[in-house]
Protein backbone atom coordinates (compact mmCIF):
# COMPACT_ATOMS: atom_id res chain seq x y z
CA UNK A 1 0.00 0.00 0.00
CA UNK A 2 3.02 2.26 -0.12
CA UNK A 3 3.01 2.47 -3.90
CA UNK A 4 1.23 5.82 -3.79
CA UNK A 5 -1.59 4.65 -6.01
CA UNK A 6 -4.91 6.20 -5.22
CA UNK A 7 -7.01 3.92 -3.08
CA UNK A 8 -9.18 1.60 -5.14
CA UNK A 9 -12.92 1.43 -4.55
CA UNK A 10 -14.42 -1.11 -2.17
CA UNK A 11 -11.14 -2.49 -0.97
CA UNK A 12 -11.98 -4.46 2.11
CA UNK A 13 -10.56 -7.33 4.01
CA UNK A 14 -11.86 -9.87 1.51
CA UNK A 15 -9.46 -12.16 -0.33
CA UNK A 16 -7.99 -10.62 -3.51
CA UNK A 17 -9.25 -13.50 -5.75
CA UNK A 18 -12.89 -12.85 -4.99
CA UNK A 19 -12.62 -9.12 -5.33
CA UNK A 20 -14.27 -7.69 -8.43
CA UNK A 21 -11.71 -6.42 -10.93
CA UNK A 22 -13.39 -3.14 -11.43
CA UNK A 23 -14.65 -0.80 -8.81
CA UNK A 24 -18.38 -1.09 -8.32
CA UNK A 25 -20.40 1.79 -9.67
CA UNK A 26 -21.18 4.33 -6.98
CA UNK A 27 -24.41 3.67 -5.13
CA UNK A 28 -27.35 5.44 -6.67
CA UNK A 29 -27.81 8.67 -4.87
CA UNK A 30 -31.31 9.27 -3.64
CA UNK A 31 -32.43 12.55 -5.18
CA UNK A 32 -34.60 14.75 -3.08
CA UNK A 33 -37.78 15.97 -4.75
CA UNK A 34 -36.19 19.38 -4.86
CA UNK A 35 -33.10 18.17 -6.72
CA UNK A 36 -35.14 16.04 -9.03
CA UNK A 37 -37.78 18.49 -10.17
CA UNK A 38 -36.25 21.92 -9.64
CA UNK A 39 -34.02 21.90 -12.76
CA UNK A 40 -36.94 20.88 -14.94
CA UNK A 41 -39.14 23.53 -13.38
CA UNK A 42 -36.49 26.17 -13.92
CA UNK A 43 -36.12 25.09 -17.55
CA UNK A 44 -39.84 25.33 -18.17
CA UNK A 45 -40.12 28.65 -16.37
CA UNK A 46 -37.21 30.09 -18.33
CA UNK A 47 -38.63 28.88 -21.64
CA UNK A 48 -42.04 30.35 -20.86
CA UNK A 49 -40.51 33.60 -19.68
CA UNK A 50 -38.13 34.11 -22.61
CA UNK A 51 -40.49 33.04 -25.38
CA UNK A 52 -43.42 34.65 -23.64
CA UNK A 53 -41.54 37.93 -23.47
CA UNK A 54 -40.44 37.65 -27.09
CA UNK A 55 -44.01 36.86 -28.12
CA UNK A 56 -45.33 39.75 -26.08
CA UNK A 57 -42.73 42.14 -27.50
CA UNK A 58 -43.67 41.14 -31.06
CA UNK A 59 -47.44 41.09 -30.69
CA UNK A 60 -47.60 44.32 -28.70
CA UNK A 61 -45.82 46.21 -31.48
CA UNK A 62 -47.99 48.90 -32.98
CA UNK A 63 -47.63 47.37 -36.44
CA UNK A 64 -48.36 43.81 -35.28
CA UNK A 65 -52.01 43.60 -36.39
CA UNK A 66 -50.94 44.58 -39.87
CA UNK A 67 -48.01 42.17 -39.92
CA UNK A 68 -50.29 39.42 -38.66
CA UNK A 69 -52.67 40.14 -41.49
CA UNK A 70 -49.95 40.29 -44.10
CA UNK A 71 -47.86 37.30 -42.95
CA UNK A 72 -50.01 35.04 -40.82
CA UNK A 73 -53.39 35.26 -42.45
CA UNK A 74 -54.79 31.73 -42.27
CA UNK A 75 -57.25 32.45 -45.05
CA UNK A 76 -54.46 33.53 -47.38
CA UNK A 77 -52.36 30.55 -46.36
CA UNK A 78 -55.23 28.24 -47.17
CA UNK A 79 -55.89 30.03 -50.45
CA UNK A 80 -52.30 29.72 -51.59
CA UNK A 81 -51.69 26.25 -50.16
CA UNK A 82 -52.78 24.05 -53.11
CA UNK A 83 -50.48 25.92 -55.49
CA UNK A 84 -47.61 25.99 -53.02
CA UNK A 85 -48.02 22.29 -52.30
CA UNK A 86 -47.99 21.48 -55.98
CA UNK A 87 -44.78 23.47 -56.33
CA UNK A 88 -43.37 21.71 -53.31
CA UNK A 89 -43.98 18.34 -54.93
CA UNK A 90 -41.77 19.54 -57.77
CA UNK A 91 -39.12 20.52 -55.19
CA UNK A 92 -39.20 17.02 -53.74
CA UNK A 93 -38.93 15.34 -57.14
CA UNK A 94 -36.06 17.55 -58.23
CA UNK A 95 -34.40 17.03 -54.87
CA UNK A 96 -34.57 13.25 -55.08
CA UNK A 97 -33.25 13.08 -58.63
CA UNK A 98 -30.50 15.63 -57.99
CA UNK A 99 -29.49 13.92 -54.76
CA UNK A 100 -29.05 10.62 -56.55
CA UNK A 101 -27.00 12.23 -59.32
CA UNK A 102 -24.90 14.22 -56.84
CA UNK A 103 -24.04 11.21 -54.73
CA UNK A 104 -23.08 9.19 -57.81
CA UNK A 105 -21.11 11.92 -59.62
CA UNK A 106 -19.43 13.07 -56.41
CA UNK A 107 -18.25 9.50 -55.79
CA UNK A 108 -16.87 9.26 -59.32
CA UNK A 109 -15.00 12.54 -58.80
CA UNK A 110 -13.61 11.36 -55.47
CA UNK A 111 -12.42 8.12 -57.10
CA UNK A 112 -10.79 10.06 -59.93
CA UNK A 113 -8.95 12.10 -57.39
CA UNK A 114 -7.82 9.15 -55.33
CA UNK A 115 -6.36 7.27 -58.29
CA UNK A 116 -2.61 6.95 -58.07
CA UNK A 117 -0.16 6.37 -60.87
CA UNK A 118 1.07 8.60 -63.65
CA UNK A 119 -1.47 7.43 -66.20
CA UNK A 120 -4.28 9.02 -64.27
CA UNK A 121 -2.68 12.45 -63.90
CA UNK A 122 -5.17 14.09 -66.34
CA UNK A 123 -8.11 12.77 -64.34
CA UNK A 124 -6.61 14.03 -61.11
CA UNK A 125 -5.98 17.46 -62.57
CA UNK A 126 -9.48 17.56 -64.03
CA UNK A 127 -10.98 16.73 -60.67
CA UNK A 128 -8.95 19.27 -58.76
CA UNK A 129 -9.84 22.02 -61.22
CA UNK A 130 -13.48 20.93 -61.25
CA UNK A 131 -13.78 21.01 -57.49
CA UNK A 132 -11.99 24.35 -57.15
CA UNK A 133 -14.15 25.86 -59.83
CA UNK A 134 -17.59 24.67 -58.83
CA UNK A 135 -17.12 24.76 -55.10
CA UNK A 136 -15.94 28.33 -55.45
CA UNK A 137 -18.98 29.61 -57.34
CA UNK A 138 -22.30 30.52 -55.71
CA UNK A 139 -24.96 27.98 -56.69
CA UNK A 140 -27.29 30.83 -57.57
CA UNK A 141 -24.85 32.08 -60.20
CA UNK A 142 -24.49 28.61 -61.67
CA UNK A 143 -28.25 28.20 -61.81
CA UNK A 144 -28.63 31.53 -63.62
CA UNK A 145 -25.78 30.81 -66.03
CA UNK A 146 -26.93 27.29 -66.82
CA UNK A 147 -30.65 27.99 -66.77
CA UNK A 148 -30.49 31.00 -69.07
CA UNK A 149 -27.15 30.69 -70.80
CA UNK A 150 -27.06 27.16 -72.15
CA UNK A 151 -30.59 27.11 -73.61
CA UNK A 152 -29.78 30.40 -75.37
CA UNK A 153 -27.07 28.59 -77.31
CA UNK A 154 -29.85 26.58 -78.98
CA UNK A 155 -27.59 23.54 -79.12
CA UNK A 156 -29.13 20.86 -81.29
CA UNK A 157 -30.05 17.64 -79.54
CA UNK A 158 -29.93 19.07 -76.02
CA UNK A 159 -33.00 19.92 -73.98
CA UNK A 160 -33.60 23.61 -73.41
CA UNK A 161 -35.83 23.28 -70.39
CA UNK A 162 -34.88 25.64 -67.60
CA UNK A 163 -35.68 22.95 -65.07
CA UNK A 164 -33.25 20.52 -66.70
CA UNK A 165 -30.36 22.98 -66.83
CA UNK A 166 -31.05 24.42 -63.41
CA UNK A 167 -31.02 20.94 -61.93
CA UNK A 168 -27.81 20.20 -63.83
CA UNK A 169 -26.24 23.28 -62.25
CA UNK A 170 -27.28 22.05 -58.80
CA UNK A 171 -25.76 18.63 -59.49
CA UNK A 172 -22.52 20.10 -60.81
CA UNK A 173 -22.12 22.37 -57.82
CA UNK A 174 -23.17 19.99 -55.08
CA UNK A 175 -21.14 17.11 -56.55
CA UNK A 176 -18.01 19.17 -55.89
CA UNK A 177 -18.91 19.28 -52.21
CA UNK A 178 -19.87 15.63 -52.03
CA UNK A 179 -16.61 14.63 -53.79
CA UNK A 180 -14.66 16.37 -51.05
CA UNK A 181 -16.75 14.62 -48.42
CA UNK A 182 -16.10 11.23 -50.00
CA UNK A 183 -12.42 12.05 -50.26
CA UNK A 184 -12.19 12.93 -46.59
CA UNK A 185 -13.92 9.60 -45.87
CA UNK A 186 -11.49 7.72 -48.07
CA UNK A 187 -8.49 9.41 -46.51
CA UNK A 188 -9.80 8.66 -43.04
CA UNK A 189 -9.52 4.94 -43.68
CA UNK A 190 -6.23 3.81 -42.20
CA UNK A 191 -3.41 3.06 -44.67
CA UNK A 192 -3.08 -0.36 -43.11
CA UNK A 193 -6.42 -1.34 -44.61
CA UNK A 194 -5.24 -0.79 -48.13
CA UNK A 195 -1.84 -2.35 -47.40
CA UNK A 196 -3.62 -5.42 -46.05
CA UNK A 197 -5.91 -5.62 -49.07
CA UNK A 198 -3.00 -5.29 -51.46
CA UNK A 199 -1.16 -7.98 -49.51
CA UNK A 200 -4.10 -10.28 -50.16
CA UNK A 201 -3.54 -9.76 -53.85
CA UNK A 202 -6.40 -7.32 -54.54
CA UNK A 203 -5.86 -4.86 -57.35
CA UNK A 204 -5.98 -1.12 -56.74
CA UNK A 205 -9.59 -1.05 -57.92
CA UNK A 206 -10.58 -4.08 -55.89
CA UNK A 207 -8.92 -2.62 -52.81
CA UNK A 208 -10.93 0.54 -53.26
CA UNK A 209 -14.14 -1.32 -54.02
CA UNK A 210 -14.06 -3.93 -51.27
CA UNK A 211 -11.81 -2.56 -48.54
CA UNK A 212 -11.77 1.21 -48.57
CA UNK A 213 -15.07 2.49 -49.95
CA UNK A 214 -17.46 0.61 -47.65
CA UNK A 215 -15.65 2.01 -44.62
CA UNK A 216 -15.26 5.45 -46.16
CA UNK A 217 -18.92 5.81 -47.04
CA UNK A 218 -20.01 4.66 -43.63
CA UNK A 219 -17.68 7.27 -42.12
CA UNK A 220 -19.16 10.16 -44.05
CA UNK A 221 -22.82 9.13 -44.15
CA UNK A 222 -23.91 11.72 -41.54
CA UNK A 223 -22.09 14.47 -43.42
CA UNK A 224 -23.66 13.40 -46.71
CA UNK A 225 -27.08 13.49 -45.11
CA UNK A 226 -26.34 17.00 -43.93
CA UNK A 227 -25.62 17.88 -47.55
CA UNK A 228 -28.94 16.30 -48.53
CA UNK A 229 -30.77 18.59 -46.08
CA UNK A 230 -28.98 21.62 -47.48
CA UNK A 231 -29.87 20.54 -51.01
CA UNK A 232 -33.52 20.16 -50.12
CA UNK A 233 -33.68 23.86 -49.40
CA UNK A 234 -31.42 25.01 -52.20
CA UNK A 235 -33.64 23.40 -54.82
CA UNK A 236 -35.75 26.53 -54.27
CA UNK A 237 -33.03 28.47 -56.13
CA UNK A 238 -34.43 27.07 -59.37
CA UNK A 239 -37.32 29.49 -58.96
CA UNK A 240 -35.16 32.28 -60.40
CA UNK A 241 -35.08 30.66 -63.84
CA UNK A 242 -38.84 30.39 -64.13
CA UNK A 243 -39.37 27.01 -62.50
CA UNK A 244 -42.61 27.07 -60.56
CA UNK A 245 -41.53 25.41 -57.36
CA UNK A 246 -42.99 26.04 -53.90
CA UNK A 247 -41.10 29.29 -53.39
CA UNK A 248 -42.07 30.64 -56.78
CA UNK A 249 -45.72 29.70 -56.29
CA UNK A 250 -45.63 31.47 -52.93
CA UNK A 251 -44.02 34.54 -54.50
CA UNK A 252 -46.64 34.55 -57.22
CA UNK A 253 -49.39 34.62 -54.63
CA UNK A 254 -47.58 37.37 -52.74
CA UNK A 255 -47.15 39.42 -55.89
CA UNK A 256 -50.80 39.02 -56.78
CA UNK A 257 -52.22 39.90 -53.40
CA UNK A 258 -49.33 41.65 -51.61
CA UNK A 259 -49.94 39.10 -48.86
CA UNK A 260 -46.89 37.20 -47.58
CA UNK A 261 -48.77 34.41 -45.81
CA UNK A 262 -48.08 32.13 -48.78
CA UNK A 263 -44.36 32.39 -47.99
CA UNK A 264 -45.06 31.22 -44.45
CA UNK A 265 -47.05 28.30 -45.88
CA UNK A 266 -44.07 27.36 -48.07
CA UNK A 267 -41.73 27.73 -45.11
CA UNK A 268 -43.85 25.31 -43.09
CA UNK A 269 -43.74 22.77 -45.91
CA UNK A 270 -39.96 22.96 -46.04
CA UNK A 271 -39.77 22.49 -42.29
CA UNK A 272 -42.03 19.44 -42.46
CA UNK A 273 -39.62 17.93 -44.96
CA UNK A 274 -36.27 19.00 -43.51
CA UNK A 275 -36.80 18.48 -39.77
CA UNK A 276 -37.22 14.69 -40.04
CA UNK A 277 -34.13 14.65 -42.27
CA UNK A 278 -32.20 16.64 -39.70
CA UNK A 279 -33.34 14.34 -36.87
CA UNK A 280 -32.31 11.31 -38.92
CA UNK A 281 -28.90 12.87 -39.48
CA UNK A 282 -28.53 13.53 -35.75
CA UNK A 283 -29.53 9.96 -34.98
CA UNK A 284 -27.07 8.49 -37.46
CA UNK A 285 -24.29 10.73 -36.22
CA UNK A 286 -24.93 9.58 -32.68
CA UNK A 287 -25.04 5.95 -33.69
CA UNK A 288 -21.84 6.39 -35.65
CA UNK A 289 -20.08 7.92 -32.66
CA UNK A 290 -21.20 5.06 -30.44
CA UNK A 291 -19.94 2.58 -33.00
CA UNK A 292 -16.53 4.25 -33.06
CA UNK A 293 -16.29 4.43 -29.30
CA UNK A 294 -17.08 0.74 -29.05
CA UNK A 295 -14.39 0.05 -31.59
CA UNK A 296 -11.91 2.03 -29.50
CA UNK A 297 -12.54 0.24 -26.23
Amino acid sequence: MSSGLPPQGNISGAAPETEPRRPLPPAKKKLSARDRYLPALISVAMIVAVFGFAGYAVTSAEQWPRIARQFFDLGAMAASFPQVLRGFWLNIQVWAICLFAIMAWGLVLALFRSLTGPWFAPLRVFTIVYIDLFRGLPVLLLVLIFGFGIPALNLPGLPNSALFWGATAMVISYAAYSAEIYRSGIEAVHDGQSAAARALGLSQWQTMRYAILPQAIRNVMPVLLNLAVALQKDVALLSVIGVRDAVREAQIYTAQTFNYSSLIAAALLFLVATIPMARLTDYLTKKDRQRRLQGAS
Partner: protein, 274 residues
Protein backbone atom coordinates in the same frame (compact mmCIF):
# COMPACT_ATOMS: atom_id res chain seq x y z
CA UNK B 1 -56.95 104.40 -31.99
CA UNK B 2 -56.14 103.11 -35.45
CA UNK B 3 -52.85 101.81 -34.14
CA UNK B 4 -54.71 99.93 -31.43
CA UNK B 5 -57.10 98.36 -33.94
CA UNK B 6 -54.35 97.27 -36.26
CA UNK B 7 -52.47 95.80 -33.30
CA UNK B 8 -55.55 93.86 -32.25
CA UNK B 9 -56.26 92.63 -35.74
CA UNK B 10 -52.69 91.52 -36.24
CA UNK B 11 -52.91 89.65 -32.93
CA UNK B 12 -56.04 87.97 -34.21
CA UNK B 13 -54.29 87.00 -37.43
CA UNK B 14 -51.37 85.64 -35.47
CA UNK B 15 -53.70 83.60 -33.28
CA UNK B 16 -55.51 82.21 -36.30
CA UNK B 17 -52.18 81.22 -37.81
CA UNK B 18 -50.98 79.64 -34.59
CA UNK B 19 -54.10 77.58 -33.97
CA UNK B 20 -54.98 76.86 -37.56
CA UNK B 21 -51.53 75.70 -38.68
CA UNK B 22 -52.38 72.06 -39.25
CA UNK B 23 -55.31 72.86 -41.46
CA UNK B 24 -53.85 75.86 -43.17
CA UNK B 25 -50.94 73.82 -44.51
CA UNK B 26 -52.85 70.73 -45.62
CA UNK B 27 -52.75 70.14 -49.36
CA UNK B 28 -49.90 72.57 -49.83
CA UNK B 29 -46.25 71.71 -50.42
CA UNK B 30 -45.67 72.30 -46.70
CA UNK B 31 -48.26 69.70 -45.70
CA UNK B 32 -46.85 68.08 -42.52
CA UNK B 33 -48.14 64.70 -43.67
CA UNK B 34 -45.55 64.60 -46.44
CA UNK B 35 -42.54 62.36 -45.89
CA UNK B 36 -40.39 65.49 -46.14
CA UNK B 37 -42.57 68.61 -45.96
CA UNK B 38 -41.69 70.94 -48.81
CA UNK B 39 -40.84 68.03 -51.09
CA UNK B 40 -42.75 65.36 -52.97
CA UNK B 41 -40.81 62.14 -52.44
CA UNK B 42 -41.62 59.56 -55.10
CA UNK B 43 -40.38 55.97 -55.33
CA UNK B 44 -39.85 53.99 -58.49
CA UNK B 45 -38.06 50.83 -59.54
CA UNK B 46 -34.41 50.50 -60.49
CA UNK B 47 -33.89 50.25 -63.38
CA UNK B 48 -36.85 51.96 -65.01
CA UNK B 49 -37.75 51.17 -68.60
CA UNK B 50 -39.02 53.24 -71.48
CA UNK B 51 -41.62 54.24 -72.42
CA UNK B 52 -42.53 54.64 -68.75
CA UNK B 53 -39.34 56.55 -67.98
CA UNK B 54 -36.36 57.31 -70.19
CA UNK B 55 -32.62 56.66 -69.78
CA UNK B 56 -33.17 55.06 -66.36
CA UNK B 57 -33.53 58.61 -65.01
CA UNK B 58 -36.91 59.38 -63.44
CA UNK B 59 -35.98 63.02 -62.89
CA UNK B 60 -35.68 64.03 -66.55
CA UNK B 61 -39.45 64.41 -66.93
CA UNK B 62 -39.47 62.18 -70.00
CA UNK B 63 -41.40 58.98 -70.41
CA UNK B 64 -45.03 58.52 -69.46
CA UNK B 65 -44.69 58.02 -65.72
CA UNK B 66 -41.97 60.61 -65.18
CA UNK B 67 -43.90 63.23 -67.13
CA UNK B 68 -47.06 62.25 -65.28
CA UNK B 69 -45.43 62.67 -61.85
CA UNK B 70 -44.11 66.13 -62.77
CA UNK B 71 -47.53 67.15 -64.06
CA UNK B 72 -49.05 65.83 -60.85
CA UNK B 73 -46.48 67.66 -58.72
CA UNK B 74 -47.21 70.89 -60.52
CA UNK B 75 -50.94 70.48 -59.84
CA UNK B 76 -50.16 69.90 -56.18
CA UNK B 77 -48.04 73.05 -56.04
CA UNK B 78 -44.54 71.61 -56.12
CA UNK B 79 -41.77 73.04 -58.24
CA UNK B 80 -40.00 70.42 -60.40
CA UNK B 81 -36.95 70.76 -58.16
CA UNK B 82 -39.04 69.76 -55.15
CA UNK B 83 -39.74 66.32 -56.60
CA UNK B 84 -37.30 63.87 -55.02
CA UNK B 85 -36.91 60.33 -56.35
CA UNK B 86 -35.99 57.23 -54.40
CA UNK B 87 -35.44 53.77 -55.87
CA UNK B 88 -36.92 50.55 -54.59
CA UNK B 89 -37.71 47.04 -55.77
CA UNK B 90 -41.19 45.71 -56.32
CA UNK B 91 -40.80 43.68 -53.15
CA UNK B 92 -39.93 46.78 -51.16
CA UNK B 93 -42.96 48.51 -52.59
CA UNK B 94 -45.32 45.87 -51.25
CA UNK B 95 -43.46 45.08 -48.01
CA UNK B 96 -45.10 46.17 -44.76
CA UNK B 97 -43.65 48.90 -42.61
CA UNK B 98 -42.98 52.60 -42.85
CA UNK B 99 -42.04 53.91 -46.29
CA UNK B 100 -39.38 56.48 -47.02
CA UNK B 101 -41.48 58.25 -49.64
CA UNK B 102 -44.94 59.67 -50.21
CA UNK B 103 -45.99 57.30 -52.97
CA UNK B 104 -44.54 54.85 -55.43
CA UNK B 105 -45.03 54.61 -59.17
CA UNK B 106 -43.94 51.57 -61.18
CA UNK B 107 -46.89 50.41 -63.27
CA UNK B 108 -48.45 48.70 -60.28
CA UNK B 109 -51.88 47.38 -61.18
CA UNK B 110 -54.72 47.91 -58.75
CA UNK B 111 -56.67 44.79 -57.80
CA UNK B 112 -59.12 44.00 -54.99
CA UNK B 113 -56.67 41.77 -53.13
CA UNK B 114 -53.83 44.24 -53.30
CA UNK B 115 -56.03 47.10 -52.16
CA UNK B 116 -56.53 45.29 -48.86
CA UNK B 117 -52.81 45.54 -48.11
CA UNK B 118 -51.76 48.82 -49.67
CA UNK B 119 -53.53 52.08 -50.43
CA UNK B 120 -53.83 52.98 -54.10
CA UNK B 121 -54.59 56.22 -55.82
CA UNK B 122 -57.16 56.38 -58.58
CA UNK B 123 -56.05 54.65 -61.74
CA UNK B 124 -53.91 56.82 -64.02
CA UNK B 125 -53.46 54.47 -66.95
CA UNK B 126 -55.01 51.28 -68.29
CA UNK B 127 -52.77 49.85 -70.99
CA UNK B 128 -53.71 47.04 -73.33
CA UNK B 129 -52.03 43.66 -73.14
CA UNK B 130 -49.85 42.39 -75.95
CA UNK B 131 -48.24 39.11 -76.98
CA UNK B 132 -44.54 39.23 -77.83
CA UNK B 133 -42.96 36.36 -79.75
CA UNK B 134 -39.92 35.57 -81.85
CA UNK B 135 -40.36 35.55 -85.62
CA UNK B 136 -41.46 32.21 -87.00
CA UNK B 137 -43.22 31.34 -83.75
CA UNK B 138 -46.61 29.64 -83.95
CA UNK B 139 -47.98 32.69 -82.12
CA UNK B 140 -47.67 34.77 -85.26
CA UNK B 141 -50.32 32.64 -86.95
CA UNK B 142 -52.61 32.64 -83.92
CA UNK B 143 -56.04 34.11 -84.43
CA UNK B 144 -57.90 32.80 -81.39
CA UNK B 145 -57.35 31.95 -77.73
CA UNK B 146 -57.41 28.28 -78.75
CA UNK B 147 -54.31 28.91 -80.89
CA UNK B 148 -52.66 30.77 -78.01
CA UNK B 149 -53.20 27.78 -75.72
CA UNK B 150 -50.94 25.67 -77.91
CA UNK B 151 -47.72 27.51 -77.05
CA UNK B 152 -45.43 27.83 -74.02
CA UNK B 153 -46.00 31.07 -72.14
CA UNK B 154 -43.80 33.17 -69.90
CA UNK B 155 -44.61 36.18 -67.72
CA UNK B 156 -42.87 38.37 -65.18
CA UNK B 157 -43.65 38.02 -61.50
CA UNK B 158 -45.39 40.91 -59.78
CA UNK B 159 -47.38 41.86 -62.85
CA UNK B 160 -51.00 41.07 -63.52
CA UNK B 161 -49.87 39.35 -66.72
CA UNK B 162 -49.84 35.99 -64.97
CA UNK B 163 -53.48 36.32 -63.96
CA UNK B 164 -54.22 37.37 -67.47
CA UNK B 165 -52.54 34.41 -69.13
CA UNK B 166 -53.98 31.91 -66.68
CA UNK B 167 -57.47 33.25 -66.31
CA UNK B 168 -58.31 35.10 -69.51
CA UNK B 169 -56.45 32.92 -72.00
CA UNK B 170 -56.65 29.79 -69.83
CA UNK B 171 -53.01 28.71 -69.99
CA UNK B 172 -51.94 26.08 -67.47
CA UNK B 173 -48.78 26.99 -65.52
CA UNK B 174 -46.91 29.54 -67.58
CA UNK B 175 -43.27 30.01 -66.54
CA UNK B 176 -42.80 32.95 -64.19
CA UNK B 177 -39.58 34.99 -64.25
CA UNK B 178 -38.08 37.44 -61.80
CA UNK B 179 -37.53 40.23 -64.28
CA UNK B 180 -37.80 41.23 -67.90
CA UNK B 181 -34.22 40.18 -68.55
CA UNK B 182 -34.95 36.60 -67.51
CA UNK B 183 -38.19 36.61 -69.42
CA UNK B 184 -36.59 37.61 -72.68
CA UNK B 185 -33.56 35.44 -72.18
CA UNK B 186 -35.98 32.53 -71.96
CA UNK B 187 -37.78 33.72 -75.09
CA UNK B 188 -34.53 33.90 -77.03
CA UNK B 189 -33.40 30.56 -75.63
CA UNK B 190 -36.57 28.99 -77.02
CA UNK B 191 -37.67 28.01 -73.52
CA UNK B 192 -40.94 29.82 -74.05
CA UNK B 193 -42.81 30.84 -77.21
CA UNK B 194 -44.86 33.79 -76.08
CA UNK B 195 -44.64 36.59 -73.54
CA UNK B 196 -47.65 38.48 -72.29
CA UNK B 197 -46.96 42.02 -71.22
CA UNK B 198 -48.47 45.46 -71.26
CA UNK B 199 -48.43 47.06 -74.65
CA UNK B 200 -46.14 50.01 -73.81
CA UNK B 201 -43.60 47.61 -72.33
CA UNK B 202 -43.94 45.39 -75.38
CA UNK B 203 -43.29 48.35 -77.66
CA UNK B 204 -40.02 49.11 -75.95
CA UNK B 205 -38.98 45.49 -75.71
CA UNK B 206 -39.45 44.82 -79.38
CA UNK B 207 -37.87 48.12 -80.38
CA UNK B 208 -34.82 48.10 -78.14
CA UNK B 209 -34.28 45.16 -75.82
CA UNK B 210 -35.03 42.25 -78.13
CA UNK B 211 -35.21 43.75 -81.61
CA UNK B 212 -35.67 40.27 -83.07
CA UNK B 213 -38.95 39.84 -81.26
CA UNK B 214 -42.21 41.24 -82.51
CA UNK B 215 -45.60 42.10 -81.11
CA UNK B 216 -47.74 39.28 -82.46
CA UNK B 217 -51.10 40.56 -81.31
CA UNK B 218 -53.05 42.82 -78.99
CA UNK B 219 -55.26 41.17 -76.38
CA UNK B 220 -58.49 42.39 -74.79
CA UNK B 221 -58.33 43.95 -71.30
CA UNK B 222 -58.98 42.03 -68.08
CA UNK B 223 -61.92 43.48 -66.17
CA UNK B 224 -60.40 42.54 -62.81
CA UNK B 225 -57.30 44.54 -63.55
CA UNK B 226 -58.29 48.11 -62.87
CA UNK B 227 -55.12 49.59 -64.33
CA UNK B 228 -52.11 51.33 -62.81
CA UNK B 229 -52.35 53.26 -59.57
CA UNK B 230 -49.89 55.07 -57.38
CA UNK B 231 -49.07 52.98 -54.32
CA UNK B 232 -49.18 54.47 -50.81
CA UNK B 233 -48.41 53.01 -47.42
CA UNK B 234 -51.70 51.69 -46.15
CA UNK B 235 -53.77 54.36 -44.46
CA UNK B 236 -51.73 57.25 -45.89
CA UNK B 237 -54.32 60.04 -46.26
CA UNK B 238 -52.30 62.04 -48.77
CA UNK B 239 -54.08 59.87 -51.31
CA UNK B 240 -57.17 62.13 -51.40
CA UNK B 241 -55.11 65.17 -52.27
CA UNK B 242 -53.30 63.20 -54.98
CA UNK B 243 -56.58 61.85 -56.33
CA UNK B 244 -57.90 65.39 -56.73
CA UNK B 245 -54.81 66.25 -58.75
CA UNK B 246 -55.17 63.12 -60.91
CA UNK B 247 -58.82 64.00 -61.57
CA UNK B 248 -57.84 67.49 -62.65
CA UNK B 249 -55.13 66.16 -64.96
CA UNK B 250 -57.65 63.77 -66.45
CA UNK B 251 -60.33 66.38 -67.03
CA UNK B 252 -57.81 68.73 -68.61
CA UNK B 253 -56.73 66.00 -71.01
CA UNK B 254 -53.15 66.01 -69.75
CA UNK B 255 -53.05 62.25 -69.20
CA UNK B 256 -54.55 61.51 -72.61
CA UNK B 257 -51.91 63.70 -74.19
CA UNK B 258 -49.16 61.81 -72.36
CA UNK B 259 -50.65 58.50 -73.47
CA UNK B 260 -50.68 59.75 -77.05
CA UNK B 261 -47.09 60.89 -76.70
CA UNK B 262 -45.60 57.78 -75.12
CA UNK B 263 -47.90 54.78 -75.14
CA UNK B 264 -49.39 54.49 -78.61
CA UNK B 265 -49.10 51.29 -80.62
CA UNK B 266 -49.14 50.58 -84.32
CA UNK B 267 -52.84 50.66 -85.24
CA UNK B 268 -52.31 47.82 -87.70
CA UNK B 269 -51.49 45.23 -85.04
CA UNK B 270 -53.89 42.27 -85.07
CA UNK B 271 -56.26 42.03 -82.12
CA UNK B 272 -57.20 38.63 -80.71
CA UNK B 273 -60.37 38.84 -78.69
CA UNK B 274 -61.17 35.23 -77.89
Amino acid sequence: MSIKISLLSSLAVAATLAFGTAHAQDNTPDDPRLFTPGQLTVATSDPVFPPWMMDNDPSNGEGFESAFVYALAEKMGFAPDDVVWVRETFDQAIAPGAKNYDFGIQQISVTEDRAQIATFSDVYSQPQKAVVAMPGSAVEQASSFADLLQVRWGVMIGTTDLDYVEQIIGVDEPAVYNDQVGLFQALQGNQIDAVATELPTALYLTAVQVPDATIAAILPPDENDYGHGLIFEQGNDLVEWVNEAIAELQSEGVIDALVAQYLIADPDLPVITE
